[in-house]
């Protein structure tokens, strides 16, 4: 689904050069749930931005769903982003003067779908996150957890192949964070690949894999975790018994 090889990203000012990513290699397979951890400034967000085609990189290769994005112009990247990717942000990033229906509608508008298809998709997505009854409500009328659910519905409505989540539970209390995490695990169980940046070690270990980034490079800490779906299938729900390092995940 996502493969980065020897990728580098350098931020330059007239005084200094900052290597945000260097020799960065990662391979995320289709259907995986991968958490990304690392200290502040290690390059997690840069990696996620590049993965989400929101930022360009300086060197290396990046294949998204088999498509090499290197050298793609802004329009092509935008189209690819709209078709393949879904985003969930820490700050929810809902548009405050649009109701839930219209917020979820935003990515579908840019895809050029007709009104009926958009309506069906929006209703299905909001139903999936348990907010179908509040379509006409505005973001300010919802709790933080509910707003994040709307953001998830917005990401899901476009049926993305890869869901990128940047600390989606960072602004939520523990209970809401757990609820959002369970929702993401359900989504993953239905086949959507998820790449989630988090600072929360408890959440990090719940994913199938945990990629750790330090100084712009993927470290050797990669855990293999059964997904909630797998755990449930095995009759386990805490997922704490199967941590092991799987360095093969680092290409």
């Amino acid at each position: 689904m996502l493969r980065m090889k020897n990728l580098s990203k350098v931020y330059r000012t007239h005084l200094i050069e900052t290597h945000a990513l260097r020799g960065f290699d990662i391979h995320v397979k289709e259907g995986e749930f991968v958490t990304v951890t690392g200290p502040s400034g290690s390059g997690k967000t840069t990696f996620l931005n590049i993965a989400g085609l929101l930022e360009d990189f300086n060197d290396g290769d990046y294949l998204l769903d088999g498509i090499n994005v290197k050298g793609m112009n802004d329009n092509a990247r935008t189209r690819l982003r709209n078709e393949k990717l879904g985003f969930i942000f820490q700050g929810f990033n809902l548009i405050p003067d649009l109701n839930l229906f219209d917020n979820v509608d935003v990515p579908l508008r840019y895809r050029g779908l007709n009104a009926t298809e958009r309506k069906d998709r929006i209703e299905a997505a909001l139903t999936q996150v348990g907010l179908a009854s509040r379509m006409k409500h505005f973001p300010a009328e919802l709790s933080g957890g509910q707003q994040q659910r709307v953001a998830i519905a917005r990401a899901l409505a476009g049926s993305p192949k890869l869901l990128l989540a940047d600390e989606p539970t960072g602004n939520l209390d523990t209970q809401m964070a757990r609820s959002v995490m369970e929702l993401l695990e359900e989504i993953n169980a239905k086949g959507t690949t998820i790449l989630m940046v988090t600072h929360d070690p408890e959440l990090a270990v719940r994913a199938q894999r945990n990629v750790h980034i330090i100084d712009g490079q993927v470290s050797d800490l990669v855990r293999k975790m059964p997904s909630l779906y797998d755990a449930k299938a095995d009759g386990k729900t805490d997922g704490s018994s199967a941590n092991e390092v799987d360095s093969s995940a680092v290409a």
């Binding site: 935008t78 982003r81 985003f87 820490q90 990515p107 840019y110």
Partner: protein, 437 residues
């Protein structure tokens, strides 16, 4: 997507209502100032008879005395002597010819209890009505025979007819004017060409109200009805009415109507030949060039639209520019607080072009709102202008064309003002905006 962006634009008006109101008002004031002055300019400079303005010609010939004349000097007056007017009427050059002069008369209503009505009219010949396409509500123009016999007939303007007879058809009735009985042969429908190009009576009077009545030129001459308005008299003049008719004094306005505009050169030749003939008779000694003006040229020559009007329009445009600069600043403020929304939309699949379209259409919506507010302000401004004088009442009114221009101007101004803020909005780096939330 246009409808989507348009609806987003309307929704956006409700966001930051104070800022939105300020923008709309800024735009409205600029548009109102421009539209008010433009409306007056438009009415003043509009073609009052577009269907034939290029084939109606006003001659300008210099019959002044040689004494005190410097070659190249403009004629003393832009009107014509009675002798020349009669000569041109008799020559029958062109499709139609009309000689006319303005008169003021007291009209005595049939009801003796009512006082005499001071009325303004025109003495002319029957070609006048067909030449200027005057619409009739009752009856028709008088006949050529009436011109020849100097008959006492009258065509009433609709306002005077209503004042005297209400809604009834007065054709056939008699009206007492300067002690003589004039038979009514027709009543005009409302007819107020603006500017009132067909007779010159000074720039201000060019925008007067419609005439109260029309009587045959020959009848007015027979009754020795003096003209109202300017007269150029530079030569020696014999005393009395006949003396005026024989003099070189200029007080008649004359128009030729040609079948096509291309016959202009033939009319020029006719005038040159006429001047040469008159020179042989001891007139037209100045050897000045005989000029011809069609309607629009005539309005330009007589400076119907003065430099002060043009200056006002330029000043109003300058004011609009100032308002635009302010609007740019306000739009920058409005759009800059929406950088996070731009970031989200970009992340969710909006290209820069989509963002550009969205924000530009949003600017247009502000322009539309500014147009509506500007229109209301412009109506108010025009009403105030109209209160200044009777002449301004005629020109200070908005037509559909100006109404459309108001909206086009407002939307265009808003789009122009929105270009830079929109471009700035498109430059938002989504990654930075999304993380900063």
């Amino acid at each position: 997507m246009f409808r989507y962006y348009f609806l987003l634009g309307i929704r956006s008006l409700r966001r930051n209502p104070a800022l939105t109101a300020l923008m709309v008002l800024t735009l409205a004031v600029g548009v109102a100032a421009s539209i008010s002055t433009l409306t007056i300019l438009h009415v003043m400079s509009g073609d009052p008879i577009p269907q034939k303005s290029d084939r109606l010609f006003m001659p300008l010939m210099d019959n002044g005395p040689l004494k005190g004349y410097t070659p190249g000097e403009q004629p003393n007056d832009i009107q014509m002597s009675y002798r020349d007017a009669i000569n041109h009427l008799s020559a029958k050059f062109g499709e139609r010819r009309a000689a006319l002069y303005g008169i003021l008369m007291a009209i005595e209503p049939a009801r003796k209890d009512l006082p005499a009505i001071e009325s303004e009219g025109v003495a002319t010949n029957k070609d006048f009505f067909a030449m200027f396409d005057t619409p009739f509500v009752h009856g028709q123009a008088w006949t050529e025979n009436d011109d020849t016999k100097a008959a006492d007939v009258v065509v009433l303007g609709n306002k005077l007819a209503e004042k005297l007879y209400g809604k009834t058809n007065p054709v056939g009735q008699y009206l007492t004017m300067i002690g003589h009985q004039f038979q009514i042969v027709g009543v005009l429908a409302p007819w107020e060409p603006s500017p009132r190009f067909y007779r010159f009576a000074g720039r201000n009077a060019t925008f007067g109200e419609q005439e109260d009545f029309f009587i045959p030129l020959a009848s007015a001459i027979r009754h020795e009805i003096t003209h109202a308005g300017g007269m150029g008299c530079t030569g020696d003049t014999e005393p009395g009415w006949q003396g005026r008719l024989n003099s070189e004094c200029t007080w008649i306005t004359f128009w030729f109507e040609l079948k096509t505009a291309s016959l202009r050169q033939e009319l020029q030749s006719y005038l040159d030949n006429y001047a040469a003939d008159q020179r042989k008779l001891g007139r037209y000694m100045r050897q000045a060039k005989n000029k011809l003006f069609n309607v629009m040229e005539w309005m330009e020559e007589t400076k119907v639209v003065g430099n002060d009007n043009k200056l006002s329009a330029w000043l109003a445009f300058g004011f609009l520019m100032l308002c635009l600069v302010n609007t740019v600043g306000l739009l920058l403020a409005k759009f800059s607080v929406r950088a996070s929304e731009v970031g989200v939309r970009r992340a969710l699949g909006a290209s820069r072009k989509e963002i550009f379209n969205q924000f530009l259409i949003e600017s247009s919506v502000i322009g539309l709102a500014g147009g509506v507010a500007g229109l209301i302000l412009a109506f108010g401004a025009l009403a105030l202008i109209a209160m200044q004088s009777k002449q301004l009442t005629v020109v200070a009114h908005m037509d559909w064309q100006m109404l459309t221009i108001t909206f086009v101007m407002s939307v265009t101004a808003a789009i122009v003002a929105g270009l830079f803020p929109t471009w700035r909005a498109c430059q938002v780096t989504p990654a930075i905006q999304l993380k900063s939330q």
